[in-house]
Every structure is written in C-alpha cells, then in structure tokens.
Symmetry: C2
Subunit: 592 residues, 2 copies
C-alpha cells in the first residue's frame, strides 16, 4: 500500500470527463423514463382512496426551460481568468441551464420553486476541477476574490444545502466535483479504497465490483449522489446495519480548506491518513463528516470496502402490526447476529407497497398471495394493520444459515411469519424508484417529501405514533388531505432510524405553505419525542431552525466556533447548518 | 425512559462521598500490595537476561512525602469564597498531599518527577463538585477569576494531560469528579445507561452488574479511570472488538462549558441527548470525545450497555511467529464473526508473560506444559519465536460455539493451535497488574512505559518491525540496555492497534533523557509507518509535538479553531493537544 498522494495512478483509465447531470426540473437524467403509472393496476384506486386525487389526470411533461427568467451571471473578468487558469476554459461554465441545475438540490421545495421559475440566487459559474491541485487553485482564486464556494456532488441534496443565501452580493461559484470520479487505489489487506469525492454511487461501485469489492453504501439517492456528498452530509445507506453509516465507513480523507490568517498561502490541505481508530484529540474526521461545505471541499477519501459476499439474500416477513415489527427489530439489534439490512414498514407503507406493485410483480411477490392472506386471517390478524419487513443476510452460506435461523426465531417470538425471498427480490429492484414517483405526484398537485429521525429503542413506538398524529393534524388544519407512511430503516444497538414519507393533496399556488406546516409538525414531533432533527439527510438551510433543540445551545456554540474559526470570511457555503438569525423553511415558502 | 435531567434519582443510594484516591508517588491506592516479585520464580532470571538488572536488589518502599518542597497555594480569598459557596467548604481542598496527587497523572515521567520532588505547577486547590449545578458554579467562579480549570477523574492519565502549564501565573483549580460516581438511570429497552462522569470503572461496573448489565469497557486503567476520563481521552478497552471504543459506546452527554461572549451567563450546558446516530452537522459528540478538558467539564453521559452474556470464554492459541498471529487476526476481523477480544502477543511479550507466571499459575497454564512444547517442536516451530494469542467469545452458548468454530478454522489456516481456556483465565486475573510491575521496575532504576498506535492491516507487520528496530537503536545510541514488547490489542475492519511496552535499564539521574530518546524514536516510527500518534491514551502535552504529522497542519488548524472559539481566554486545561509553539516531551525531561 502506498500513502495518499496528490497524483495517484487510477486503477483503470479515466472513463471520460463527461460529467453526468440531473435534469433541471426533477430527479434523474434528461430522458429517464417517468414513473410507470400505467403498469401499476392498483395504484390509481389507492391514490383516490387515501388522497382523493386522480393520478391519471395529467401526464408528466417536460417544463419549458425558455420560460425561465435566469438572472445573469455576475462573474467578473478577474475571477473568471483565475478560474480558467485553474481548470481550463472548458471547465468554467456560465451557461444558464447548468447554472439553474446547480441552484438547488432535489427537495420537493426545490422542484416546486424551479418549476415555478423562482430561481433564488443562481450561481454565477459552475466550475469543474479535475484533481486536488485544481480544487486548491479554484479555492485560492475564490478566497482572493471574496467569492462564495458551494461544493456540488450528484445534486440530490434535499435540505437546501446547495443554494446560495438569498441576496448574496458576492460572486457565487458552484464547484461540480463530477470529473473526480475514480477509485484510485485499493489496499486489499486493509480492505480500504481511495476514492475521489465526485464519484457517483453506481460509477464507484462498478469500479469496485470489477475488482471483487463493494463499499456496501446504498442510500436511496445512490444513483445521484457521490462519495464526497455522502461524507459532507453524514449519509447512511440501506445496508448500514452491516457496513456502517458513512461516518463509520470513512477512514481517511483529504480536504482543501482555508489557511489560517497570516499564512503565506490562502488555502491548505487537510490530510487525514487511513486509520481504523485513534485518540488524537477531538476527531477531525468527524468534523468534516457532516460539514456540508462549511469547512472546505472534500477531494478524496479512504473508505472501508468489503469483498463481495458469496451469499446475499433478502427475506421478507409479515407482522400482525407495526409494534410487533419494531419489537422484533429491537431484539434482533440486541442479539448475537447482525443482518446487513433490517427494514420494517408500518401499515400505511405496507399498503402503499402492495398498491404500487406492477402487473408482473405478482409472479414473485407474496403480497397478494391468497394462501398468505388466508393464513393471516386464520391467525386473527387485522389485514389493515399488517406490516411487511425485509431482513438482508450476507456472508458465507454457513453464516447466512446461522443468522437467518437466529432472526427467524426472534420474528416468530413476536408473532411474525417468514414469506420467503420473493418480495425481497422485488424490493431490491425497485429501491431507487421513489423519487420518480415523487416527481410524478408533484406534477398532479401532490407535493411529497421525506423526513427521518433516530431515537433510542424505548421511543420508537412513541415517535412513530405521535409524528403520524402531528402530521395528520397539520394537514387537517390546513384543510387538505394527506398521507404519511414510515419504515424502520437503520438499526443500532441503542436505537433505530425511522423514515417517514408524507404527501399532501394540495395543487394550489400556496401549497408550499401547507407543505411547511406539515414538515414543521413532523420535525417538531421529532424534537418533542427524543428524536434527532435528521438521521442521514443532513441539516442544510432546511433543518437549521431546529439545531438548538437538537444539539442544545452549547452544541450550536461549538459548531459556530468551528465554522467561524476555519472560515472567518464566510466564503464556504455560508448559512448552512447554523445560520445567523435567519428564519428556516417558513421563509422559503413565503418567498415562494 | 425519562430524559436527561439535572437531578435524576440514582438507581441506588449514594455509596458515600468518600472519594477514592491514588497514592502520590505511584499507581493505585495507599497500601496496595506491590508487585509480588517473590511469587514469580522465573522473573528475576528473565530481567537479568534481557536488561542485565537484579530486580531483587532493592525492595519497593514508600518515599517520604515530608521531603517534598510543595509550592504554596496562591488561591485568593475571593475565588476561595466563591468555590466554598459552590461546593461547600469540605469540598475545596488546599492541602499539600492532595494538591501534589493532582499535579500529575501516572505516566513514568510523572512518577520520576514526583519522586524526585520536581513538582511543576501544583494546582492551588482541588475542588470536588457533587452535581452538574456545582460544576457549573465552579466554572462560573473560575472564569470570573480568570483561573485555570483542569478536570480530574481517576488520575491515571499518562500523556501529561492533568498538569498545569509550567509558569502558569493564574490560579489553577483541579476539579476532582469523584463525588459524581453514580449510575443514575438505565433505559432497558434502548440498552443505554446515564452515568455520572466521576464513576471509576469498578464502581460503575458494580452498579451495572447488580442490575444485570455491563458497559463492556475494560481499559488497562479500568480500576483507576472514570467514565468522564474515558470520554475525554477517547479511551478503548480490551473488549472493544465487541463493545466498541468509548467513542462508539457514548451515545449522549452533558458538559459544562463557557457561554459565548456577550451572553448574560459565563457558562452554559451542552446537552446531547442519547441518540444512536444522526446527521446534525459536524458531530459535536465526537468533538467532546478526546477534548481532554479543553472544551469544558463532562458531567454525565448516556452510555450503551449490554446484558451480561450467558457464556464468556477466553481461548488461548499459539502461533509459530507474530506474523502468523497478525495474519490470523486480520482474517478474523474480515470474517463473518466478531469475537469480543482478540489479542496477539509478539515473541518478546510471550516470553515476558511466561517469565511472569506465578508459582501457582502452572496449574492452569499451558505456557510451560511439556506436551505443548513437544508438539511445537514436532511442528518445527522455533520456540524463540512463538506467540500467544487470546480470543474472547461472548453470547449465547450457540453463538459462542459458532464463533469459536469459525475462529479456530482461521487460526489453523495460519498454522496456529488452540491450547484451551487455562491461560485465558490467568490473563483475566492478571490484566490490571502491569502498572504495579512498572512502579516496581522504576524503583530499581528501570523506567518503563507504553505507547500504542493503530494502522491499516497492510502496515501491521511493518510498523511492528520498524518500531522495535527504532527503539533498539535509540537505547543502544544512549548506551543502555532496553527491552520492547508488543501485542495486537484492538481489531477493526480497516486495521488494528498494536500496544508497545518498553523499558530501559538506566537508573541515572539523566534517565529521563534516555527515556525521551526511546519514546521519541517510538513515536517517530509510528508517524513514519502510517500509524497514529495514539490509539487510546490521548494527546495531552506529551504527544502534541506529533499532531501536525498525525492529522496534518489542516487538522491542527481545525482543532485550534474549535478550542480558541469555545475558550478564547485559555482557561480550560490550556496547552493540551495543540499547544502554542511550546516544545513537547523533550522539554519535560530537560526540566527534570
């Protein structure tokens, strides 16, 4: 193994510098197939029942970019010249569409605003550095010009972490990391890989897979999120129970950051070597994790990798109700075995999944299997309360057999039943589809969003019950219909993450106010019932109003000390995480 | 479960406010039995062979406290009055012996200096707060008086983190947390416990055990270290492979810290609720972990606990050489099973362990079993290179059998052999004895110390070989004899910690110079071969000279921003971790 260096040889040749981009008005690339509603025989009736909407009324169409009034770039000649020197003219882009794409992430508010032509503070240039030296040169130029620097990975952020502050008078640069997309090195003995920050999930995983490895990090945003973005937001993937949160996967990293006042240079490199564990003072790696661009630009990282498991299996289970599923999850988390994934859907999400089945899925699914239904009825289960659960197993055949045996015993102890591998196979195929459904629903006037929280096991039932209640009250007070569903998504020894998805049937111009009321009710409920403001989506601008409740005023003092000390000029993605007295999401909707 | 509060009911009544203290001149309490050299038939010959010293020459005796010239306290009446108001007159102590005890930790340099009467900047008072409010009142008074505040747990620190800066002109307070020693609450569903920061290992573990729980945190300092001390130094225990480093065990915490400039109050509380995981910006919990008193005083913490395992077993193995043992450890860490402990001694440490056996130990030990020796010889092993390894298993009987089977298979694949439970039982009994041997050896003119590091698996052999070489070169250059031994102590997916113990046969007045040369050679070797400056002993003053190499200049910038922002007056244990241009351990020895 060699050490981190600025110019390592990639394991394979560059795959071209064509940076993949999402479309400006929705999730995914231009030309991606929209949600296949016509292949979902049960979904229209379900949507009619729970939201009172006709989802077939209005087919999704590409909005007209030319209708947008894109503010002109204020990039000055001097900074432009410096940037061109740093990365080459081809990699400094001031085109309108690219700047609009880089104005926002892909939260529902982002899509509403961009589709309505509410563009906010569009960046003045999109810069594409190709290596660490270029990132350093770009930051040097930006600090010299007192410009604002916002790192950009796959653009899938949903907490308003990618947008400049409204009214920002300085030049704003969005730094697209997409050219830095290589797995540079694999240390086979240590099972760590050096990966560039701009590598999108599938590109990175393909490079690892070719050599027999996996990162094991599969967030729902996988297709449109990057290694650097995962680190910057403290991401967690669907298989974190085995592979760990990104904070546990990241072993070392490199970041371009400002130099302290008085230094000859304006920037310096943070170089954290790959280490399994250490006691070198307050953990700097953990300060970069979740820093959302406020400390610098992450350029590459040493990440734990694992040999592709010989056996991989996702088993499905049904429980008579969500409480039984949560209890089983708790017992599994406290048992001697650790599955690679443990997911329990509440009754609403179970119904949604059943309704969202495609024409062909009944072949492999047991959702609608008459025999399973009869068995549930025979057990006296209320079919309105049943919950589906997926448990993933990986390892040697012996290990999978052992772990599955232990889990099955726990499931049975809580009255659950195993229904085999069919639904798990389907789940694996569809797991990245949700944002397309979200975009489809938005088109017919149904804004939908997600909020997730983590609590100790002792509060999982409480926070679920109370959050559903709070959201329902909020949309009722707003005079709309709504739907909320949830699944337990990540398990730990001390507790679990629950992931809520909610939708409101409000196609009015004021629907972002209604959305805010529901979103605020959900987040307030998290705070009131021992939850965290966010488990893996980060803070951005959207969650910052809850930070003092989440980590206490003392925690905010500590984070401010860190940001202000490292970036006294507020050049690095200012206003995110802790912001200076500005209101939170409500202001965004009032802007809108 | 109820939430963190300032005045929770303890699970059991207070066990009295008598704070346990170590003796001023060595490890452990006054009256502890010294190292039982007369019960170690093989040890004198071993010491003669490797160091050329007669360890029976000079029996350990208590040095004379009255020979010390203890600097007078400069505690002023005003601050004294405020402290008495805060904690009561009984809990503000300016007595000489107590102040001397609180001047240093228990590193070898500390003991040398205190025994030689080199007392440094002795604190002016030892304050014993009894709850969070009292800690807050003490810090309020200290900041008002511009005094220095140094938190003190069990006093076992070995990296010079407990002493005031030489020449400190301001009043210095050592804050002994020993009265805050209760397990306040156990959340059985979440498997977390709220524990006061001043609880010593055995007291805390006894309170948990009574209710059927364990923290699973057993550092070598266990008997004389506290929950708050573990958090403040990022401790790790011998069973961390199962239970995690303290950074993974700590789920929430409370800390008294300065308020930001401009606030009405001088102090504020940091309250981090117990959470399994979160993405609320840079992780504040991870900034407090390892902060060594520079951000505030930790008062209590929510810690993960586990039900006492039904089966616990430590199996012993022999390998033909250390490389084989390291390779087996790597394969175990990458396998589907995770033992609770995995320890591999190098050949020198194996010899030390064999020589350190007591008269009675051969009954349960296979160390000197003739049959085992014959078997090794039959395999063609070089008995000079053999290495002992301990692997601990915990869980249900089924799980222990499964895990043991998997481990045994890996051990055999590397040519190792299982020798049963006997040596493991002995190891468990003796695991906290090392500091008494160290104190005994110092008495006969053999300073001994420990340094540990973590690397990726790809560098475990290299860093071991090179560090042994570097230390040997250093003592040879100093014209003394020395001994160095090592064990792999903690395993992770990405790498492992190796724990070195070294001794030099130098009883001269200048022996701390020789010690420094060896210590510096060891730490320099860690830096040169991809290791961290410290795996779990922390930084203090002793390791701060290596910080820029360990975490890069950028990392030091980030830590400084944090400390300077939170504590602009440098009142909180100043000079530790990153210090302002002052030299490191060499200066200490030149003082000496």
């Amino acid at each position: 193994m060699t050490q981190t260096s600025d110019q390592p040889s990639p394991i394979q040749p560059a795959r071209g510098n064509q940076v993949k981009r999402q479309k400006w008005w929705g999730w995914g690339a231009d030309g991606d197939k929209p949600y296949a509603v016509h292949n979902k025989p049960k979904f229209p009736a379900f949507a009619q029942e729970v939201l009172g909407v006709d989802i077939l009324a209005k087919p999704l169409q590409t909005p007209d970019f030319s209708a947008l009034d894109v503010p002109a770039s204020i990039l000055g000649d001097e900074l432009r010249q410096r940037l061109v020197e740093a990365v080459g003219a081809d990699n400094v882009d001031t085109g309108d569409e690219l700047r609009v794409i880089h104005s926002y992430g892909k939260g529902v508010r982002d899509l509403v605003r961009v589709r309505r032509g509410q563009l906010g503070r569009v960046p003045d240039a999109v810069v594409h550095p190709g290596n660490t030296d270029e990132v350093q040169a770009v930051m040097e130029a930006a600090l010299e010009a007192d410009a604002v620097v916002i790192p950009y990975g796959g653009g899938s952020n949903i907490v308003a972490a990618l947008e400049a502050e409204p009214g920002e008078q300085r030049q704003v640069l969005s730094i697209n990391m997409g050219r830095m997309n290589k797995v540079l090195e694999i240390d086979e003995a240590a099972e760590i890989a050096l990966i560039q920050a701009g590598a999108l999930g599938p590109d990175m995983e393909a490079q690892l897979n070719e050599e027999g490895w996996t990162l094991g990090h599969f967030p729902d945003s996988f297709v449109w999120s990057t290694v650097g973005g995962w680190i910057a937001t403290r991401s967690s993937g669907s298989q974190s129970d085995k592979y760990g949160d990104i904070s546990e996967v990241t072993r070392g990293l490199q970041m371009v950051m400002p130099a302290p006042a008085g230094d000859a240079e304006r920037t310096q490199l943070l170089e954290l070597r790959p280490l399994p564990s250490y006691s070198s003072g307050p953990n700097v790696r953990e300060m970069v994790l979740g820093s959302e661009g406020r400390l610098g630009i992450i350029t590459q990282a040493w990440m734990q990798v694992h040999k592709l498991a010989p056996v991989r299996e996702v088993q499905a289970y049904f429980y008579p109700n969500y409480e039984a599923g949560l209890k089983a999850a708790e017992l599994i988390a406290h048992s001697d075995v650790r599955p690679m994934m443990l997911r329990v859907s509440d009754a609403n999400e179970t119904k949604f999944s059943m309704a969202n089945g495609s024409k062909s899925s009944s072949k492999v699914s047991h959702y609608s299997n008459k025999a399973v239904q009869k068995l549930m009825e025979a057990k006296g289960w209320d079919l309105d309360q049943i919950c589906i659960s997926f448990v993933g197993f990986e390892g040697s055949a012996v290990h999978v057999r052992y772990a599955k045996g232990a889990v099955n015993k726990i499931v049975r102890s809580q009255g659950g039943m195993n229904v085999g591998k069919g639904p798990g196979t389907l789940f694996d195929q569809k797991k990245y589809d949700i944002p397309y459904i979200r975009d489809f629903l938005l088109n017919i006037g149904v804004p939908a969003d997600v909020s997730e929280t983590a609590t100790p096991w002792s509060r999982t039932v409480e926070i679920h019950t109370e959050t559903v209640k709070a959201a329902t009250k909020a949309w009722e007070e707003a005079g709309t219909r709504g739907f909320i569903m949830c699944h337990l998504s990540h398990s730990y020894h001390a507790g679990a993450c629950q992931y809520f998805t909610f939708a409101i049937a409000d196609d009015s111009e004021q629907n972002m106010r209604t959305y805010d009321q529901v979103k605020r009710a959900v987040q307030d409920s998290f705070m009131a019932h021992g939850g965290t403001v966010s488990h893996h989506h980060g803070v951005g601008e959207e969650h910052s109003p809850w930070m003092a409740q989440d980590i206490s005023e003392g925690g905010v003092t500590i984070q401010k000390a860190l940001f202000d000390g490292v970036d006294p000029g507020r050049n690095l993605n200012p206003g995110k995480i802790v912001h200076d007295g500005k209101p939170g999401i409500s202001s965004n909707s009032e802007d809108a």
